[in-house]
């Protein structure tokens, strides 16, 4: 990987962890997912990782935009983008570096929920294969949300606008397979294919199918590509 990507990624990680953002966001994430997880455990007296895997894609809808909203919009607002883009680096290296920093933050947050998983394994048998698959699925899902967030952050200088638009796009991608009864039949399978949740439930059942992986990777590529174009668009304005 190009050394520029590494430099940008490190810088972004430092600014996550030097400021309270990372800690607040991760703590909130763990509290909310933990609350849903354990309340099921105590109420129904029976918990499975399904609960966790059902709730995290939902929490991610807020969590991921909170991580990405300032990534590029803040550079635009403060003007630092002018130094950044006149350094001898390619635009995609900047985008990729920032994306990877966000991904590392998300992976950290997701891995911290392993605490819950281990609590559970103390209580009963766990299907190890489906746990691993579920976690891999979560990371793919998070990466996809992140790419949306990086994209929306790159076309505005307003963090709030970046947050809301990425939330809206992610929400739409998440809901697609839940509105199937309202769409004509010939569109139904198309909607289902586009839905992030459909592919996630495939993976979290324990089967990592290349079709699902390709789906996620193409979305990530697509949105990061749009982000690069959004950065370049300044030149013609």
């Amino acid at each position: 990987m190009s050394s520029h990507v590494v430099v940008f990624c490190k810088k972004e990680l430092r600014s996550f962890f030097d400021s309270p953002i990372a800690y607040i966001v991760i703590t909130t994430f763990l509290l909310i997912s933990g609350w849903f997880f354990f309340s099921d455990l105590f109420l129904v007296n029976q918990a499975s990782l399904r609960n966790l895997f059902d709730i995290i894609p939902f929490i991610f809808m807020f969590f991921v935009p909170a991580v990405t909203m300032r990534l590029i919009s803040e550079e635009k607002r403060s003007g630092t983008i002018e130094i950044l883009l006149t350094l001898p680096v390619k635009d995609y290296e900047i985008i990729l570096g920032k994306f990877l920093a966000g991904l590392i933050l998300i992976v950290v947050a997701v891995l911290l929920t392993l605490v819950y998983t281990f609590t559970l394994s103390g209580l009963g048998d766990l299907d190890f294969g489906s746990v691993v698959a579920g976690y891999i699925g979560l990371i793919f899902l998070g990466a996809t949300y992140l790419s949306v967030g990086v994209f929306t952050s790159s076309f505005t200088q307003n963090q709030i606008v970046a947050f809301i638009t990425s939330f809206a796009i992610i929400f739409a991608l998440y809901m697609l397979n839940k509105v199937l009864m309202f769409v004509p039949n010939f569109l139904a399978s198309f909607f289902e294919y586009l839905s992030v949740d459909y592919h996630f439930s495939n993976i979290s059942r324990g089967v990592i199918d290349s079709r699902d992986v390709i789906y996620y990777l193409s979305l990530v590529f697509f949105f990061l590509f749009l982000a690069v174009r959004a950065l370049e668009s300044r030149k013609w304005r």
Partner: protein, 310 residues
């Protein structure tokens, strides 16, 4: 070193830069002057590959800015207007970050950092967060950022804005020093700055180049009235009217003084007319004691005002 040819940039309907052509040679310090909104920042943003022009082209060291963008950016050090820096980073980390991106080898970092701290006077603030710094120190960090890779071309957009007179003097002498080996473009609307540092001046107004030459050349080409300054000692009070009645005098302005008998005037006449002999005789005839008489040089400020107001 830098060639700008027929450069035009439109923002929608607004022509911010209009058919601008100029060259800057190695070792030149070019003062890029113009009133607010003249198009200075827009022009340098195109040279630094931040913006694309609507028409025209730019070459840096023989490389086309659009085709060899990365190569060109390696050669340039750029301090944008208002020195936009990461406020949450500390000065040292920031310089390391820039060196990392610029591909400077890690074993040279500490030496290079030391040099920058010396040159830009960053000693007292190296470990402070940039967001906490005063404007002057932020400008210096911006300057260090622009010079850290020892670029051949240095482009500084209003580097002394917000600095106190001591810092301004320091930065000017620094720029002058740098200009011995490097090519420097200095955007500003502060005229003494240009007079103090630049070998060459380019004045831009409403997107068009209106003057190009050394400060002396520009002063010589000034089209305004000629001015003479005189200082007299006399108790009489009708001096001003007598001066005004002298042949060829167009305007007399008294400069207020505290001394009772001391009187100072500036006298305007058409360019090419020499009033001095007439003034001398008038003084002798009236028994005025003539203490001083001199022709005023057109200042760069006069030239600037003439060219940029319509």
């Amino acid at each position: 070193m830098i060639r700008v040819k027929n450069l035009t940039k439109k923002y929608g309907e607004l022509k911010a830069v209009d058919d601008v052509t100029f060259d800057v040679h190695t070792g030149d310090i070019l003062g890029f002057l113009g009133p607010n909104g003249a198009g200075k920042t827009t022009t340098v943003r195109i040279i630094t590959c931040f913006l694309l022009p609507t028409a025209g082209w730019v070459e840096v060291d023989g490389l086309n800015v659009f085709e060899h963008s990365l190569e060109v950016r390696k050669k340039i050090g750029y301090l944008p207007e208002n020195a936009p820096l990461y406020s949450e980073m500390n000065v040292l980390d920031y310089l390391h970050f820039i060196m990392g991106v610029r591909g400077i080898l890690k074993d040279r970092w500490s030496q290079r950092t030391k040099e920058m701290i010396n040159i830009c006077g960053l000693g007292p603030v190296v470990n402070r967060n940039i967001g906490e710094l005063s404007k002057g120190f932020r400008q210096r960090v911006g300057l260090a950022q622009a010079m850290v890779h020892d670029p051949e071309v240095l482009i500084l957009d209003e580097p002394t804005s917000g600095l106190d007179p001591n810092q301004i003097a320091e930065i000017r002498s620094l720029i002058k020093e740098l200009g011995k080996e490097k090519t420097v473009i200095l955007c500003t609307h502060i005229l003494p700055e240009v007079e103090a540092t630049c070998k060459r001046v380019l004045i831009i107004n409403e997107g068009k180049i209106v003057a190009d030459g050394s400060p002396a050349e520009l002063q010589a080409s000034f089209q305004g009235k000629e001015q003479i300054y005189i200082e007299l000692k006399t108790p009489f009070t009708d001096v001003e009217s007598k001066l005004a009645n002298l042949e060829n005098v167009e305007k007399v302005k008294e400069i207020l003084t505290n001394g009772d008998d001391l009187k100072k005037f500036t006298i305007e006449c058409a360019r090419g007319v020499d009033l001095r002999e007439g003034l001398f005789r008038l003084a002798v005839d009236n028994n005025w004691v003539l203490l001083e008489m001199r022709k005023e040089q057109a200042s760069l400020e006069d030239v600037f005002r003439q060219l940029t107001t319509s």
